[in-house]
Amino acid sequence: MATIHGATSLATEIAMLEVSADDASYTAEGKIRDAERAAQRELERRQISELREKASTMRRHALVDGGLQLASAAGTATAAFAQYKADVAKIAGCENPTAVRNATLCGGGAKLMDGGTKVSDLAFGSVETDHETASLEWSHEADAAKDRAERASRAAQRVETESDQKLGIVQEMLRSDADLVHTLITRS
């Protein structure tokens, strides 16, 4: 009786040790899952931040571009009118140096502004692309962190289920042990 009881106790102790190991494993997987979830949140926050930065850059771009184009449009219209006055004076056989100077300055300035618009397009476009690329990168990394968190979560659940099964076995062993003791008492 003592031998049988001792063997059952030993088996129970081993099973309980397994359950303890499972508990430790579950805790570790849980910590990994929580860390990955925190990482995912942080990466999503960065992705959102990059999108906001991109939107802010686009607004600045719109203002600069709009201002340059407006100046260019005003310069072009003024230059055309000044040029017309200069041409009319020239056809009439006299000179209008003010109109000539205005046409030169406004026309050239308008074209410079127009060129500047294209330069600003390229400069702001490059910054916007940088923000978009960074946002996509953070998005991909956040997805990867989410996958890792889900894997850790599944692993934790698997460990939990196995631990439950082991506890069920322990319970069955205890029941069997008790039955045996009762049988032996009855016979004695």
Binding site: R37, R41, E44, R45, Q47, I48, L51, R52, K54, A55, S56, M58, R59, H61, A62, L63, D65, G66, Q69, L70, S72, A73, A74, G75, T76, A77, T78, A79, A80, Q83, Y84, A86, D87, V88, K90, I91, A103, T104, L105, G107, G108, G109, A110, K111, L112, D114, G115, K118, V119, D121, L122, S139, E160, D164, L167, G168, R175, A178, H182, I185
Partner: protein, 247 residues
Amino acid sequence: MSSVTPLGGASIAIQLEALEEDRFGAELKSGKSIVKVETGERTVRRELEREALEKARAEAEESSFWNDVASVAKDVAVVASVAGAAFSGGSTLIVAATIAGGALTVGADVAKREDLLDDDVCRGLEVAGACATLGAGGYQALFEVAPAVSETSAVVGLVAGEVEGGSMLVAAGAGYQGSMAQSRETDAQADATSASSSADAAQTAIDDSISRMQQSLRNRNLTAGTIAVLQQSDAHLNDELINGMRG
């Protein structure tokens, strides 16, 4: 007296079971509250995400419309500029540079809209067009003014210049509206991402809470089973002892 101890053991087991039931009840109640709160949160966030995506789509359409208007206005301005340069005379260098700049700019724009060329090639054409236009403007500003040859060419130059200026004004306004709509679209995308992230977090909290409740239920069943075994064992032992005492 001999039956007192086993009965006491059973009582303790019943008390333990009662405590376990209390704990389980409290966990279940707390879990249900969490699920209720997080479900409400998730619903609100999903609704916000849907609204943000809807707004982003609307802004994208608006941006596309204004960008098309700006693009056409820019092409009109370039054509007017080239026509003005060709009619008003001036040095061959300036006319050639203006025509080249205009052709490259319009060509790149059309190629981009119709997907005829690679984006990098279009960008290269735009840069080349900008350089030619910039060169023509700089040269004209620094060294000369195109002379008028006749009254007709002067009027054509005036009309072309005013059309160019007007088109540029339209392009500036439409471009500004398009860019602002695009920035609002990006902001809406950021809002949608933020709402989606919060909704996912709420969903995770719901899943965790349900998982905890399931685990709690399993633990409770295990404990109840063990206590039932103890009670059964106690009852058997009591029977045996009573039978033994009766002889």
